[in-house]
């Protein structure tokens, strides 16, 4: 009996906290029919917002994937003084509010900031433009790949890598043929989480982007905009697509994973 009580408690909590709101989004998006939903979603500014969200993700995810793997290798495989500190710093974006991140970027790249004047002189617009939005997104989605890869690297140990070296493999060959295949699922999982975080980022991007419709407005910013302008159908519609993208990514990963583990 206790087993069931525990299960229903866990399940009920999930329904209430996660699935409830998602279902509401789904239902409300279709409130005014599929036609109205389609009109909202094909609005040029909405399309642009989705494109911008994707562009930012396409830049930020690979950057953080490479960084995350390199960082995890440095933390686990290279015993250097301060590895613990690096390990802690990687988690910083999880601890700091995105709004604070946005604000600090604002100060850094603003007219009176450290880097702002230099970029201004070279005619590169950072704030209120895509570069700052990418930087903000990279910052907030930085830890996920490293967080996933670090424990996996620890678990597999370095014996296989040592064996590869004794068999004549270079460091590079060892990485591609031994290390990478062993951590690929940790990387995939990290990439999924990073992607989800990039698609959903709001706070930091809201501060640095200026939220200019059709120019620096991402999908999440547009949801907020639509909601504030009493365009509820629009807000729900865009939310629905955002939620659907996340669900698809998660499902795709779940379908891929068991095959690997069975081998």
């Amino acid at each position: 009996m206790r087993k069931y009580a525990l299960r229903s408690a866990a399940l009920g909590y999930l329904l209430l906290v996660l699935l409830g709101p998602l279902t509401m989004v789904f239902v409300r998006a279709f409130d005014k029919g599929a036609g109205a939903l389609w009109t909202t979603l094909t609005d040029p500014n909405t399309v642009h917002a989705f494109e911008l969200t994707l562009i930012i993700a396409v830049i930020a995810v690979p950057l953080n994937t490479v960084f995350g793997v390199v960082c995890a290798l440095a933390i686990v495989r290279r015993r250097f003084p301060g590895a613990g500190l690096v390990n802690a710093i990687v988690d910083l974006p999880l601890a700091i509010s995105p709004v604070v991140v946005g604000l600090s970027l604002f100060l850094l790249y603003g007219r009176t900031g450290w880097f702002g004047p230099w970029f201004a002189r070279h005619g590169t617009q950072i704030l209120f433009a895509v570069p700052s939005m990418v930087i903000a997104t990279v910052f907030v989605s930085l830890p996920f790949v490293a967080r996933e890869v670090v424990p996996t690297l620890r678990e597999i140990g370095d014996e296989q890598e040592q064996a590869a070296r004794t068999l004549g493999a270079s460091g590079w060959q060892t990485f591609w043929r031994i290390t990478l295949p062993s951590i690929r699922w940790a990387i995939v999982y990290g990439v999924v989480l990073t992607t989800a975080r990039c698609l959903g980022e709001y706070g930091a991007v809201a501060v640095v982007s200026g939220n200019i419709e059709g120019k620096t407005q991402t999908a999440t910013l547009r949801v907020q905009d639509a909601y504030e302008n009493f365009n509820q159908a629009g807000a729900y519609g865009i939310s629905l697509v955002l939620a659907a993208m996340s669900v698809i990514v998660l499902v795709a990963m779940t379908l891929l994973r068991p095959e690997e583990e069975a081998a």
Binding site: E159, Q162, A163, A164, R165, T166, L167, G168, A169, R177
Partner: protein
Amino acid sequence: MSIEVRNVSKQFGSFQALEDVSLDVEGGALTALLGPSGSGKSTLLRIIAGLEWPDSGEIRLAGEDATALTTQQRGVGFVFQHYAAFKHMSVRENIAFGLKVRKRPKAAIRSRVDELLDLVQLQGFGDRYPSQLSGGQRQRMALARALAPEPKVLLLDEPFGALDARVRAELRVWLRRLHDETHTTTVFVTHDQEEAMDVADRVVVMNKGRVEQVAEPRELYDAPANEFVMSFVGQANRIGDAWVRPHDLEVVLEPNGLTREAQVARVVHLGFEVRAELVRDDGEQLAVQLTRDQAAELELERGQIVYVRPTRETVF
């Protein structure tokens, strides 16, 4: 290929793993590094392989200074205690690894892998994954993998340590035979003195980061260099200042002036051999080894009073 270790020291934090160790391994020999855990035997093997760096000292392979060479450059075969199998590769791919990274032609790789599968008796297992093999099979695969690039030196770190007694005995015989066929210079680490004596031409006994003795198995047992070797290789009783092997104690039923009285505390029958624990009148415990016939003649049993006398003693 000969291996020379010159004045090698290695420290891990405050732990002195190796202290000024020098050692010569002849080309083509099968040598065991024997010692208790923490004696530095694995560290020495890993330094020879280039998997660890000595704090000071020199490693020479085939007469050439190899101290600064990386593992990759040394071209040694290494077998790990826990196999270090590449889990995402099939048995074939595991064995082929060292050839693939050397960019050997595909056909050559295929025939070499077939040859090795035969050698380690894993024909028909080529397409399996390491997780589908038993411990003994995995270790044979690891051996084939290490042998594939035809290394001049084969180093094995407690290769049979994780296997059960029977598989262990089989692989021992097999390793010996393999060595007799290929004559690859082989060094293996073990904490099992019987294994070392059984397989190796020469045994290097290590303790607390130092080499205690280097000798042939028989010499090691008959002429141990010091108390550590005496007590670590084979069993030994300490009687006053002297050391006596359990089979060098004569047990009789009547005192004869030279004997001491003792009581039988335990008798263990191991087929041909019978082991007894005796407690002398002064409380000293003695281990005795007798043949089955000797034990039967004495009608040895627990609680019985007997008289013992050492027939051969060693004093250091």
